[in-house]
Amino acid sequence: MRYSILAAAIFLILGGSFSAGAAEPMDDLRGPIEQVISILKDPKYNGSAMKEQQRMEIMAVIKKIFSFYEISKRALGRNWNKFNIQQRQVFEETFADFLGYTYFKKVRDSYQGENVVFLSQEKIGDAKAVVKTKIPRKNNEIPLDYRTFSKKGEWYIYDVIIEGVSLVTNYRTQFGKILGKESPDELIERLRKKIVEQREQDKTTS
């Protein structure tokens, strides 16, 4: 009896860790990304009144697989050290919202029922992987790669590469330029202003 309980315990612990270790980055991303697409396709969000609802539901899914902490840290690069803990937290949330607004608007405006095609995954050691996808369009296709890292057997995105351009590196260049002249709070304020701008634009166009 004792032994069988022990065996069961070992099985549970090992089995659990095996299944966690066996999680593949592509599988971890596939579900949530397909969920985002189904929210985009769902006709119940048609019409501008449901826009905000749709954006919030997509953001909720996005926040499960994107590590905005890592994204923020990397997008600030060396300047991360200039931010105190509170500024880091506020920056992370503001940057996440900024990216959410910007790209949701773009995706919603130009979405024409495309699906994401998962091409391959390349592991870099145990802790990092690149998941390659593409989005077929009318006359071309957009290559979209996700850089991911693993945490407790699950994979999170810390960079997106669109047609060979790393989003994080692109923002790091811009943030570096701005932080050469301005303070962390001023940078956060700039992001906040962009969000307000986009919300107002959204209202006038809808």
């Binding site: 945490k151 351009v165 590196t169």
Partner: protein, 268 residues
């Protein structure tokens, strides 16, 4: 963190006000100790390998960074050209592109695009050869033969549809890069947009491989070029706006994006 984005925006705005309103220090200390941020972040990587490499994150891609910051001595000129191209797009190219898109069916626009892509095969073919990419050159040659015949002078991309042959985007700027020529100064060309000294030289070289260049009279070749560009723009309306809207510093964003994209293409 799991709160809906709208709520978290309000929350972060609140945080921001609190942070900047000069609260007494003990308040901050308390706020920090209950803050999950300072103790354990929910999404922070705990994988030792990632962490270890993580300590270098500050310097990751440092080369990219320095490369991207480096050598923009033409900035004053580029600023003027950036502004010029920006206005050119919004005042001229975009309205033309939209009008064109409104009257031309998708199928025809795609056909015209295919036709011009097929016509410019010599540029890609020769540059594949110059980069010693024999298979890719063969790929381009097969595409040319298939699309010019079965694809009715290139209007249909039959090679892609049936033989699954994608075009290989090679140009002389990339060839020079493969040969070890550095990209050189960043330069924004009027009408043509972002480039570098190397890629500008590349454009010039490719011009001689473009059949359109040899059309007589020169006006005709310019007119056809305009059709090509108008057709092209009709597919890309909105892209520039997106990049601009997503940027805090559009000039730097586009510069970095261009340099990253070209570096990637040269490495492929």
């Amino acid at each position: 963190m799991n709160s809906a984005a709208g709520v978290s925006l309000a929350q972060s705005a609140k945080d921001f006000k609190e942070a900047s309103s000069g609260l007494p220090p003990h308040f901050h200390a308390k706020a920090e100790s209950t803050n999950h941020y300072s103790s354990e972040h929910s999404m922070e990587s705990d994988n030792p390998e990632f962490q270890e490499e993580d300590s270098d994150y500050l310097y990751e891609d440092e080369e990219d960074e320095t490369q991207s910051y480096a050598s923009d001595p033409l900035k004053p000129f580029n600023d003027v050209m950036f502004h010029f191209n920006d206005k050119l797009y919004f005042w001229v190219l975009k309205p033309i592109g939209r009008g064109y898109r409104a009257i031309m069916p998708d199928a025809i626009r795609i056909g015209i695009q295919n036709f011009f892509v097929n016509l410019s095969t010599p540029i890609r073919f020769v540059n594949c050869l110059l980069q010693a990419k024999g298979d890719d050159a063969g790929n381009e040659f097969t595409r040319l033969v298939t699309n010019t015949t079965v694809g009715f002078l290139g209007f249909w991309d039959q090679a892609k549809a049936h033989q699954h042959l994608d075009k290989k985007e090679e140009d002389f700027g990339q060839t020079l890069g493969v040969w070890g020529v550095e990209s050189g100064w960043y330069i924004i060309l009027p009408f043509l947009g972002p480039s570098t000294l190397r890629d500008s030289a590349g454009r010039l070289g490719d011009m001689f491989l473009d059949p359109l260049y040899y059309l007589e009279p020169a006006e005709l070749s310019l007119e056809i070029w305009a059709v090509d560009k108008t057709n092209d723009i009709s597919f890309r309306i909105g892209d520039y706006e997106t990049i601009k809207e997503a940027a805090l510093d559009p000039y730097e964003s586009i510069r970095d994006g261009y340099l990253q994209m070209r570096a990637k293409k040269v490495s492929q």
